[in-house]
Each structure stands twice: as structure tokens, then as C-alpha cells.
């Protein structure tokens, strides 16, 4: 049996991947929070998903821009129609995006809220109640146009290091170009945060991600910057070594290669199965798929394989508008559960830029198994022409099929429930005792045929959108998932064989704990 399964997996993937089907449940799911505002909210519109009720189902937080944000409690039944209940728990104005993170590791999810003005750390009190913990945690929320976030637990720290990206100096009205304000690094001092460290130079970040790009054990901070507003800028990466000040990767010292794009979002995954993270960078017109050229060189020198892979997503593929696209939130996920990572990209005009597509459908690009991707957004039913910004690809009703929630500028969120037949899947929660309960910085290795696919567990990236919750892995026809966890401290868990169609809670040096939605 095992041999047969292997043979099935080893066969070349079908050129025509199975197209998932989605039902648009926007009208009935209960969301009623648009991302509002004018120039000050031309970027942002993030979505955060996390479980704060303790039932395992992810809640949805929607940024409201100049309006109020909202937290929606998940009232969906397993496998059923999507149903959410709006609460006032996180009704905050001037919100651009948010990321869940259990900062104090108390088991109640906290939320990092990025704003026009003071950022807020909303401490989870349990049962989806929150309080502003800026003062209690010594967090200086600043007064900026905050547009990016990433977090990591540095070695030896019980609290996370937070990186916050900032955008234009909003007081510069006639000459905003070149006015990018400093990004900040909030490092912990015990169980609170020290004064923010400016990450100078800063170039109007719209996405940040801590990632162990070279598997050194020391994640670096990638920053994707909007070239529209910087001068002398480029994409960036920072060294972050314990007890050392952050240090920029340079061309001279590190072999960093200059890239200047309208950086909007970062998605990371080992889509090439070379053991190293690849990075999809959204922009306007062509988007990038960065693949490490030569890991042995030790240099962060990346080839752009977007064209070769068919995921430039540079213009609409349906709807008749042939102008270049504007891409925001990217996310890799195995949407059709065939064991191959697919790519979702939220699309939408900045506002009314006539040189860019006004009818700009979201992309759903399915991996074909040969390194290329096939666009199926229209066939799958998610090719919305709304002006999308943030998003999450997440299993909202815990049926093993990934659903999609997208926040749109002015018109409000859309949500699609995946229907139809589901391939094999397994979903994991990593939980470790003490600090960093959700194991940010861990790696899940899943063995596929003769390859090992590595998944970094990160907090950050995307376009002002993040998630903590069940980690979803598609399995195709395989009855089991062969995987292991490398925990943030570097300890390697045992290889596990977990049954398809199950939820599993994994802890260091412990037997997997099956979990069933109630």
C-alpha cells in the first residue's frame, strides 16, 4: 500500500490541476465593515484571522480605515455556511491592518493594530475581549502611517521583537516623495518593550517578514518597499543577531542585489522545493517570484522566476481590462489540496489610476506540478473586480477546504466558502510551553515524494494581513502526512505520520493530540 501511494505521488502532476469551487457568501456571512477613507488610506485594508473564543474556529478582524474596524466572531458550523457575528470588541478608528500574536504567551491571542497615528497592542483577555496594553507593556505606539509588521522571538527572549514599517510623512502635501519615515524595531526588555529602534534608512515599507532565508538559524528581516515614495531606496533585508543592533544587508558586504519595485506584499514558501524559502513580491504590473540562485554562495542573490512560472499576474486575465494590474496581498496555500502550493493575490486599483486596470480581478493561480501555475480565479469563482487590499486564505469552517476573505476599499469585505470535493489535508496547531506559544519561527517539514517541503511559521508579511491558527497542508491522494516540526529553539521533532482529514495539536517531545471541531 505504501509503495502504491508513493508511486501515485511520484507521477507527474496533472497539467490541469483540479479547480476548486467557491460559493460567494458575502451577502450572508455577516460582514459589514468597508475599508474607508481617501488618500491616507490608499494602502492598507488588512484582514487578521485568529481564534479568540477558544472554539478553534477563526474569528475575522477587518480594518476599517477612516471608519471603525471590527472583530467578527465565527459562528459557522463545521463544513457549513459561513456565519459571523459583529462585535464591538475591536472597534478602533484609523486602522490600516492588524496581525495576531500572543505577545505575552498567556494563551489569549493579542492583536497588533497598525494605524494612522498611534499603533496599539491589544491584549487578549480571553473570550474575545481586549484591552489597550501599550502603557502596561511599555510599547511606544508612535505617531506615523504604519503599513507593515513582522515579529520574531529572538534567541533567549521571552517576549517577541516587533518590526513595524512606516510609510509617507503624511504632513508632506505637495512634496511627499522622499518623505518616507523610519521603520521601528521594538525589542523586548524583559516582559515589556524598550524604546523603538529606528531602522534607518527606511523606504516606505508595505510588507515585512522575519525569515531564515539561508537556514542559518538567525532569521533576517525582509522589507518590501514602495518605490513610488522613496529616493535612493530599494528592497531591503536586515541582519538581526542577538544583542546586536540591526544591520542592513549591503551589496558590498553581503552581496545584496538592488531591486526597486512598488513593493506591496510578501508571501513566502518553499514552492521550488529546494529547501529554502522563495518570496513572492507583489507590485504594480509584473510581480516577482524570488528564488535563491546559489545557497552555497551564502549570498542573498535571487533569480526572478515569475515569468517562467507563469505568475507575473501583470494584467487582468478576465473582464476585458487590459491595463496593468495592481497587486496587494499575496498568499501561498494549497487551495485545492493536491499537495502543491498555490498562490492567491488580492488585486485592485490604488484609487482611480487610469493607466492601471480598473477591473482588476483577484488571482488564484494553481500549481501545475511542473513549476508553472495556471490561473483559475474566474473558473473558481473568486475573480472579484472590487478594489481589493488585504486578505486571508484560511479554513473558516474547518472542513479542510480553504476559504478566502478579502477586504476591499470602500465596498467592504467579500468572503468565499470553498465547496465541492476536497482532496486530502491535515491541519496543525503548534503549541509550545512558555514563551512563544504558537512557535513563531518554527519550521514544518513535510515529505512529498523524494522532496522535503519546508514551511516557515512566520508572523508578518502579506499586505497588512496576518493569521495565527490552524496550519493547513494539502495532501492530494495521500492517506497520511509525513511531517516533522523543527521548533524555534532548533530542536527537531520526530517524523510523524498523521492521518489525512485530521486536526492535530503538536507539542515538543509529545505525542500529537488529535482535535475535533465541536
Amino acid at each position: 500500500m505504501r509503495a502504491l501511494v508513493f508511486l501515485a505521488l511520484a507521477a507527474p502532476a496533472a497539467a490541469e490541476p483540479a479547480i476548486p469551487q467557491f460559493a460567494d457568501e458575502t451577502a450572508t456571512a455577516g460582514f459589514s465593515t468597508p475599508y474607508e477613507g481617501e488618500w491616507e488610506y490608499m494602502v492598507g485594508g488588512g484582514v487578521a484571522t485568529f481564534d479568540c473564543s477558544g472554539d478553534g474556529f477563526p474569528e475575522v478582524f477587518l480594518s476599517g480605515g477612516s471608519g471603525r474596524s471590527a472583530l467578527y466572531l465565527n459562528r459557522s458550523a463545521q463544513g457549513g455556511a459561513l456565519a459571523f457575528e459583529k462585535t464591538d470588541a475591536l472597534g478602533i478608528d484609523a486602522v490600516l491592518g492588524a496581525y495576531p500574536l500572543d505577545i505575552d504567551s498567556d494563551g489569549a491571542m493579542d492583536l497588533v493594530v497598525l494605524r494612522q497615528g498611534e499603533n496599539r497592542l491589544m491584549r487578549g483577555l480571553g473570550n474575545c475581549r481586549f484591552e489597550n496594553a501599550n502603557a502596561a507593556w511599555g510599547f511606544d505606539g508612535g505617531d506615523a502611517w504604519s503599513t507593515a509588521f513582522a515579529a520574531i522571538w529572538e534567541k533567549g527572549q521571552s517576549w517577541p521583537t516587533l518590526a513595524i514599517g512606516n510609510y509617507i510623512d503624511r504632513k508632506e502635501e505637495a512634496f511627499p516623495w522622499g518623505s518616507c519615515t523610519d521603520n521601528w524595531l521594538h525589542r523586548p526588555e524583559g516582559n515589556r518593550f524598550g524604546a523603538p529602534i529606528p531602522l534607518t534608512p527606511s523606504y516606505c515599507a508595505l510588507s515585512m517578514l522575519f525569515t531564515d532565508w539561508n537556514r542559518s538559524g538567525h532569521p533576517s528581516l525582509r522589507v518590501s518597499n514602495d518605490r513610488e515614495y522613496y529616493k535612493g531606496g530599494q528592497e531591503q533585508m536586515w541582519h538581526l543577531e542577538p544583542d546586536q543592533p540591526p544591520r542592513l544587508y549591503t551589496e558590498k558586504d553581503d552581496g545584496w542585489k538592488r531591486l526597486r519595485i512598488w513593493g506591496m506584499g510578501i508571501a513566502s514558501a518553499d514552492v521550488t522545493l529546494d529547501g529554502f524559502p522563495d518570496y513572492y513580491l507583489t507590485s504594480m504590473a509584473d510581480n516577482k517570484l524570488q528564488v535563491l540562485k546559489d545557497a552555497a554562495s551564502g549570498k542573498p542573490d535571487y533569480a526572478d522566476l515569475a515569468f517562467k512560472s507563469g505568475i507575473t499576474a501583470h494584467r487582468p486575465y478576465t473582464g476585458g481590462d487590459e491595463n496593468p494590474s495592481t497587486a496587494w496581498h499575496p498568499q501561498f496555500a494549497d487551495v485545492n489540496n493536491d499537495g502543491l502550493l498555490d498562490l492567491f493575490v488580492a488585486k485592485g486599483n490604488v484609487a482611480e489610476m487610469p493607466d492601471f486596470a480598473a477591473q482588476d480581478p483577484n488571482n488564484l493561480m494553481l500549481a501545475a506540478g511542473d513549476g508553472t501555475f495556471v490561473e483559475v480565479g474566474d473558473k473558481a469563482g473568486v475573480a472579484s473586480m472590487a478594489i481589493a487590499r488585504g486578505a486571508q486564505v484560511v479554513d473558516l469552517n474547518l472542513d479542510g477546504r480553504l476559504d478566502i476573505v478579502v477586504q476591499n476599499r470602500w465596498t467592504g469585505a467579500e468572503v468565499w466558502r470553498q465547496t465541492g470535493a476536497a482532496g486530502g489535508w491535515v491541519q496543525l496547531r503548534l503549541q509550545q510551553p512558555g514563551a512563544n506559544r504558537d512557535a513563531i519561527g518554527a519550521v514544518v517539514e513535510i515529505r512529498r515524494q523524494d522532496k522535503v517541503e519546508r514551511h516557515e511559521i512566520t508572523a508578518g508579511g502579506g499586505h497588512l494581513s496576518g493569521s495565527v491558527g490552524w496550519l493547513h497542508f494539502g495532501l492530494g491522494a495521500s492517506p497520511t502526512a509525513e511531517l516533522r516540526v523543527i521548533w524555534p529553539d532548533g530542536s527537531e521533532g520526530a517524523w510523524l505520520s498523521l492521518p489525512a482529514g485530521s486536526f492535530q495539536i503538536l507539542r515538543p517531545e509529545a505525542t500529537p493530540e488529535p482535535w475535533v471541531p465541536k
Binding site: A174, D286, D304, P324
Partner: protein, 439 residues
């Protein structure tokens, strides 16, 4: 005898205007006009960088129309200045001023505001916001202390000047830019020397603006007469002339000094990251205007001539580019010398011959030499904000020659493309330099 900078200003620039000494109020208003002109141009440089369709030829075109607008706005009320109507192709006489008092800063501001918002109507929300704010700021600056009826009359006239220029501009073949200038379909040539795409950017699998060379020129009566001679015969054999030119690019690129890298990046002037090559030369004039406190009556016609020269240079160069459709050095070198070679700069997405930057720099230097004189030394801080240092030049010609050579340092042009481009640009620029802007 080489002229000293101050001598040039004293004898060839300041003199004509010194003859018409103005009362103190008029002088003060001229200072306001100067501020209006330079501040709007500061914004225009940013708009060029931040408007997605403003590829280098498109930017040069806009600078020309804006320069002509400003000059005509001033010329309509200054008998010492001469209109370009009848001198530039298809430019008919501009609206004359009616009865009553006019205020020059208000005329100029209104003309610039209308021209800029018209030419940059497609810029993004930040550009729109900046134009609106600039309109408010400069409108207030221009009209402060002036009688309302004078302001209204002047604004109406300025807008009429701009409308006339914009209507003229609409028919030149370059007014509509789709898909950021890249054709949505393209059939590449089949000869071994034909240009092929050089990047993995999907949009750039077709060359930029292949029909630009057919646009209506501003000052050149017969563009075909200025076409560059054919490039060296294409040859892949080692020892051939063509191979030697490619080898020169390759060897130069492998052994670049820090100074050569700096020169390459200084003149790189990439679209959407800088004001483009044409904006670089506009910036040079603005810096000289600031350093030498040039009067608005000098700055405006200079910007007009410079804009015209650069716009015509791009039309001429693009005509040549798509006539010969020559491949870029990176293509030849990777095919025949070293498949792993990479140039320092990003290779622009259009054919090599002739070099556009060389051509328009040749045109620009010809105009500026005609205005300011030979051996006119200047410093260029255009890219200080980008982290590049100030460079100093003994003359406009020297700057243009460095700009041309920079393209070989950058690995994006053969020497012959640069040299032919310079010569082509100088010939084009001579027509703009010959325009009569003084009565």
C-alpha cells in the same frame, strides 16, 4: 577665448534684459514669476518620476510643451520676448491679451497649472493631491496683493495659453500612452542582429513605444535628414568590428572602476525612479538658475528650447532605433562571448542603436551651450536625494559626452551607439537652439 561663467551672464544673458529696466514693483513681480516657474518645475520633475506612463520620450515631450507654455505665457505680455508660433511645427498664434491690466505671475501660474494638470491628468492619487496643493500654494503666492479683477483676467489668459498648447499637443502622435508604452502584442524580428527582449518582465517582452519616431517633431523640419548612419555591419565572428565593439563593452564591464560605476549610475536616469534623462537636464538648468539667480525671462525660454531639443531628439532617436532594430550588448555578449555576463545597469526594453540618452544629451548640450556659452562650468546635484554625489562639469558638452560614455560603462550600449547618438542629438539640438525667443 573661453568665457568665464559670470562673463557669460553679464554679456550675453543679462544685457538684453538690463536694457528694459523695470520699476521696483515690476522687478518684484518678476521674482514671483520666477518662483512660480521654478516651483512648478520642481513638482513636474516629481510627477515625471511618479506617473507610470512617463517613460523617457514621453517625459521629454511633456517638458517641451510645458516649456513652450511658460514661454508663451510670458511672451504674450513681454515685448522683449518672441512667440514660438510659426517657428514650431503646427503651432498657431496663441491667444492675445485683451484689454485691461494683467499680472505676469498670475498668467504664468495659471498657464502652468492648466498645462501640468492636463499633461499629468493620469498621475496617481498622490500626484493629483500634490498638483492640487501646488495650485493652491502658487495661486496664493502669485495673486497675493493683486486686485481681484486683474487676477481673474490673468488667470483666464494663462489658462487660454495652456489650452491652446494642449490642443496643439493632442495632435502630435504622442498624446495617448497605453499599457505604459508597451505594445500588447509584438512579433520579434528574425535576423540574428534583431532586438530581442532582455528582461524577465512580462510587460517588456515588446519594445517601448515603437511608433514614437513617427511623432510630429517640434523644431526639426525634416527628421529623416538627421537619421544616424547605419551601425557597423553585424558580425558574430571574433576579430570582426562588431565583435570588437561587443568585447569592449564586456571587458569594460568586467573591470569597472568605482568612478565608472558612479558615472553609469549618475546618468542612469531610470524611468519611474528618476525624472528620466530629459528631467536630468531640466534639473541642471534649474540648478544653474538658482545658482546664478537667472531672471524668469531667461529661464523660461531656455526651458522651452531645452524641452523642444530633447523631445525632438527622442523622436529622431526612436525613428533610428526601429529602423535598425539592433540587439543590445547583453544579448550579443551572452550569445557569443559569455553567457553568464550581466551589465551593471538594467538594460532598457528597446533597441540599442542609437543611444537615446546620448542623443538627447547631445541635443540638450547644444541648446545650453548656445544659451550659456562654451566652457560654462556647473555642478550637478540632480541625484543627491538618491544618494549619489554632486558631479562637476567644465561644460555642457563634457557632461553630454560623459552621459554617452556612461551607457557603455553600464553595459547597455555599444560605443558606436553612444557616439552616433551624440552626433544625432547635436544635429537635432541645433534646430532648437536656432529658435528665436527674443524680439
Amino acid at each position: 577665448m573661453p568665457f568665464h561663467r559670470r562673463q557669460v551672464l553679464g554679456f550675453t544673458i543679462a544685457a538684453p534684459f538690463a536694457l528694459a529696466l523695470k520699476p521696483a514693483l515690476a522687478a518684484a513681480r518678476a521674482d514671483v514669476s520666477r518662483e512660480v516657474l521654478l516651483t512648478w518645475h520642481k513638482l513636474i520633475l516629481e510627477l515625471v518620476r511618479h506617473t507610470a506612463t512617463y517613460m523617457p520620450p514621453v517625459a521629454a515631450r511633456a517638458f517641451a510643451y510645458i516649456g513652450v507654455t511658460a514661454h508663451e505665457a510670458l511672451a504674450s505680455g513681454n515685448p522683449a520676448l518672441r512667440s514660438l508660433a510659426g517657428q514650431l511645427t503646427d503651432l498657431t498664434p496663441l491667444p492675445a491679451r485683451g484689454e485691461g491690466e494683467f499680472d505676469e505671475p498670475c498668467v504664468l501660474h495659471a498657464a502652468l497649472e492648466a498645462a501640468v494638470t492636463g499633461l499629468f491628468a493620469n498621475t496617481g492619487p498622490t500626484g493629483q493631491r500634490a498638483m492640487e496643493k501646488m495650485g493652491q500654494i502658487m495661486g496664493k503666492t502669485a495673486s497675493e496683493g493683486m486686485a481681484g479683477d486683474v487676477v481673474d483676467r490673468s488667470v483666464a489668459h494663462g489658462r487660454a495659453i495652456a489650452a491652446h498648447v494642449l490642443e496643439w499637443a493632442a495632435g502630435d502622435g504622442g498624446a495617448v500612452i497605453e499599457n505604459m508604452g508597451f505594445p500588447r502584442s509584438y512579433t520579434p524580428g528574425t535576423r540574428p542582429q534583431d532586438w530581442v527582449p532582455t528582461s524577465a518582465i512580462r510587460m517588456q517582452q515588446a519594445p517601448l513605444l515603437p511608433a514614437w519616431g513617427q511623432n510630429r517633431p517640434f523644431a526639426v523640419p525634416d527628421m529623416a535628414s538627421l537619421d544616424a548612419p547605419a551601425p557597423p555591419d553585424y558580425d558574430e565572428a571574433e576579430g570582426s568590428t562588431f565583435h570588437a565593439y561587443a568585447t569592449e563593452v564586456y571587458e569594460t564591464g568586467k573591470a569597472l572602476t568605482d568612478e565608472q560605476k558612479l558615472i553609469a549610475r549618475f546618468w542612469s536616469d531610470d524611468a519611474m525612479l528618476t525624472p528620466t534623462p530629459a528631467g536630468h537636464w531640466i534639473s541642471i538648468v534649474m540648478q544653474i538658475a538658482d545658482r546664478d539667480a537667472l531672471p524668469v525671462e531667461v529661464i523660461a525660454p531656455t526651458l522651452a528650447k531645452l524641452g523642444v531639443a530633447q523631445a525632438d531628439a527622442f523622436v529622431s532617436c526612436w525613428s533610428t532605433k526601429f529602423k535598425y532594430n539592433l540587439l543590445r550588448p547583453v544579448t550579443y555578449i551572452k550569445r557569443h562571448i559569455d553567457k553568464a555576463w550581466e551589465p551593471l545597469l538594467i538594460t532598457p526594453p528597446f533597441p540599442e542603436y542609437t543611444s537615446g540618452h546620448s542623443c538627447q544629451s547631445g541635443a540638450a548640450s547644444t541648446v545650453l551651450t548656445a544659451v550659456f556659452g562654451e566652457d560654462f562650468a556647473f555642478d550637478d546635484a540632480t541625484h543627491v536625494d538618491e544618494g549619489l554625489p554632486v558631479r562637476s562639469f567644465p561644460s555642457f558638452a563634457a557632461a553630454a559626452e560623459e552621459a554617452a560614455l556612461s551607457r557603455m560603462y553600464g553595459g547597455i550600449h555599444f560605443r558606436f551607439g553612444n557616439e552616433a547618438g551624440l552626433a544625432q542629438g547635436r544635429a537635432v539640438g541645433a534646430f532648437a537652439a536656432a529658435l528665436k525667443t527674443e524680439a
